[in-house]
């Protein structure tokens, strides 16, 4: 009955960001979600009772946890890098207007059964008990090198070939020991494994730069977090999309993706076909078009106390480097524990023929950089051109009344 949408989206968080971008760019957007809430698999669950139900925990939350409605629990916990791509997307789209943020109070690394503050500035490195005196000096020199490094200016390379020299050799050049390499790779460059050591160093150096630049923005830590949980992010982008004419439907069971001549033409829900020219969805809507690429285990714990050696931080990140994983910790005694094991899926084809563009499952990274890479990749696949942040800017005045106070 309705005219076809340019773009139909199903599910999740990335889909909300993309529907915001596409609505701003004048596409006719229709967004459906089988859930009754925004964000799909990376939603924030509220009230707390729903989290117990979701994980099939017996009983109800203890009274000491207070009002269930005051809880928002992220199913896929991640932080935003203060100078990262998602923050850039929020600023360009002005979705920031709908959200309040907090700075995470600290970043820590686990080593030999103890928790240490991650040193990431020269001053912090010199004060850290994680390294001996000589090591500190060498690490400081390394940080200065990284801060000055500019991939477009060979004068800053100091004999390193960013596209050839391995990170292992860069560490060697600065004579850094195993402990420093561990926290640099895992807590600053935020790698999950040590595979990066034998790859060209440019990516790692840029990651450390992102960390330092993010840290420089608000102090304390490089991480930001929405005041009411990550579920605010898809809601904010959905609002942006709606303001630019996008239509949102929750609670829509999806029965079929309708294909004609190998190309998507619509989606069937509750017996009706909504027509579209292009489709973006997460892997859960198209099990026959994705392949399993891994697994991730997530454990959500509700603690009744701050974590030892974190200075009673209200919020923090603790990185446990790969080679520290098997040690017994005992650092926390959770009040409740929620465990999930998720398969990771990736699309089997880029979607250029079917015009079905599928996002990847959320990986185990602690921040949104890979999520943003995926968004840019989907954009490129469907638009045929590189993603440009400028495209995200609002195209018209949509604030009325007084000027906002900046």
């Amino acid at each position: 009955s309705h005219s076809a949408a340019d773009l139909l989206l199903l599910g999740g968080h990335r889909e909300c960001i993309l529907s915001g971008i596409m609505s701003v760019n004048g596409k006719k957007v229709l967004h459906m979600d089988r859930n009754s809430y925004y964000g799909g698999e990376s939603a924030s669950i509220t009230p707390l009772e729903d989290l117990y139900k979701r994980f099939n925990l017996p009983g109800t939350p203890p009274e000491s946890m207070g009002r269930g409605r005051d809880w928002n629990v992220d199913l896929i916990p991640k932080f935003l890098m203060a100078n990262g791509q998602l923050v850039k997307m929020l600023l360009y789209t002005e979705v920031t207007r709908y959200l309040d943020f907090k700075v995470i109070e600290g970043s820590f690394v686990y080593k030999g059964g103890k928790i240490y503050k991650v040193p990431s500035t020269e001053a912090e490195a010199l004060a850290s008990s994680l390294m001996g005196l000589f090591e500190k000096r060498r690490f400081r020199k390394f940080l200065v090198y990284v801060a000055n490094f500019d991939e477009n200016d060979p004068r800053t390379f100091e004999g390193v070939d960013p596209k050839k020299t391995t990170m292992r050799d860069v560490y060697k050049k600065f004579d850094l020991g195993q402990d420093v390499i561990d926290f640099t790779g895992h807590a600053l460059a935020l790698y999950r494994t040590d595979d990066y050591l034998d790859q060209p160093c440019q990516e790692t150096i840029n990651r450390i730069k992102l960390y330092s630049e993010s840290l420089a923005r608000y102090g304390k830590s490089p991480y930001l977090y929405p005041l009411y949980g990550l579920g605010e992010l898809p809601q904010g982008f959905a609002r942006l999309s709606a303001i630019y004419g996008g239509t949102y439907m929750l609670n829509k069971p999806i029965e079929e993706i309708v294909i004609e001549n190998g190309k998507v033409v619509g989606v069937k829900s509750e017996g009706e076909v909504a027509r579209c020219k292009q489709l973006i969805c997460d892997p859960s809507y198209v099990s026959d078009r994705v392949t399993k690429v891994g697994q991730v285990i997530r454990v959500i714990c509700i603690l009744s106390h701050p974590i030892k050696n974190t200075n009673d931080a209200n919020s923090c990140q603790i990185i446990i480097p790969q080679n520290q994983v098997n040690r017994k910790s005992g650092a926390v005694s959770p009040l409740s524990r929620f465990v999930s094991i998720s398969d990771l899926f990736a699309p089997t084809d880029p979607g250029t023929e079917s015009q079905i563009f599928i996002s990847r499952t959320y990986d185990a990274t602690t921040h949104f950089e890979t999520t943003c890479d995926d968004i840019k990749d989907i954009y490129k696949r469907m638009m045929g051109s590189e993603f440009d942040f400028e495209e995200m800017k609002r195209k018209k005045n949509d604030i009325y009344g007084e000027e906002e106070q900046q």
Binding site: L90, L91, F101, Y248, L250
Partner: protein
């Protein structure tokens, strides 16, 4: 004079005149052909109330009410909600109860609720009696007015009444746990190189 920012969210069925009410309040104008999805992300107006300035930050639904897709974010932190119905359409009054329920479920516990029976300039095609609406509003301790965005009837009064009902600042919970807005140019503290 103290400035207080008060978020107000609008609720009610599509076409009852939610945007028109805000448009009249903020810009003092009326557009009979207003786009159903007007696309206002934010509308503000500051009015003086006693010895305070109340800056209303008014959130319009952006059409998300059509398929009941208003997000928790929409209600979050609202000091007041205006639920609008159309006095010439009985069904927009019947669904009022659903909006109240929705608000009780997702809105802050001590939110000020106002009910506005809009289009009161169209008295000859009225389907909802003023008394019925008033009785209902009283039963849920809500503000009640009949309004006409078109003829500018009771629009300012509606917001004055909201100001009156907002608890004074000192009863608000401590704002220490509050977050901040991201800015394009935050205070970049350049680290001096030793």
């Amino acid at each position: 004079m103290a400035l207080r920012e008060l978020k107000v969210c609008l609720l009610g069925d599509t076409g009852v005149g939610k945007s028109s009410i805000v448009w009249r309040f903020v810009e003092d104008s009326f557009d009979p052909n207003i786009n159903p999805t007007i696309g206002a992300s934010f509308m503000t107006k500051t009015v003086q109330y006693q010895n305070e300035l109340h800056k209303f930050l008014i959130w319009d639904t952006a059409g998300q009410e059509r398929f009941r897709a208003l997000a928790p974010m929409y209600y979050r932190g609202s000091a007041a909600a205006i639920i609008v119905y159309d006095i010439t359409k009985e069904e927009t009054f019947s669904t009022l109860k659903n909006w109240v329920k929705e608000l009780r479920q997702h809105g802050p516990p001590n939110i000020v609720v106002a009910i506005a029976g809009n289009k009161c300039d169209l008295n000859d095609v009225r389907e909802v009696m003023e008394k019925d609406a008033k009785d209902y509003a009283d039963s849920i301790h809500a503000i009640f007015v009949e309004t006409s965005a078109k003829n500018a009837i009771n629009i300012n009064e509606l917001f004055i009444e909201i100001s009156r009902r907002i608890p004074s600042t000192d009863t608000n919970p401590a704002s220490s746990g509050k977050g901040f807005k991201l800015r394009r140019q935050p205070s970049v503290t350049k680290r001096s190189c030793c």
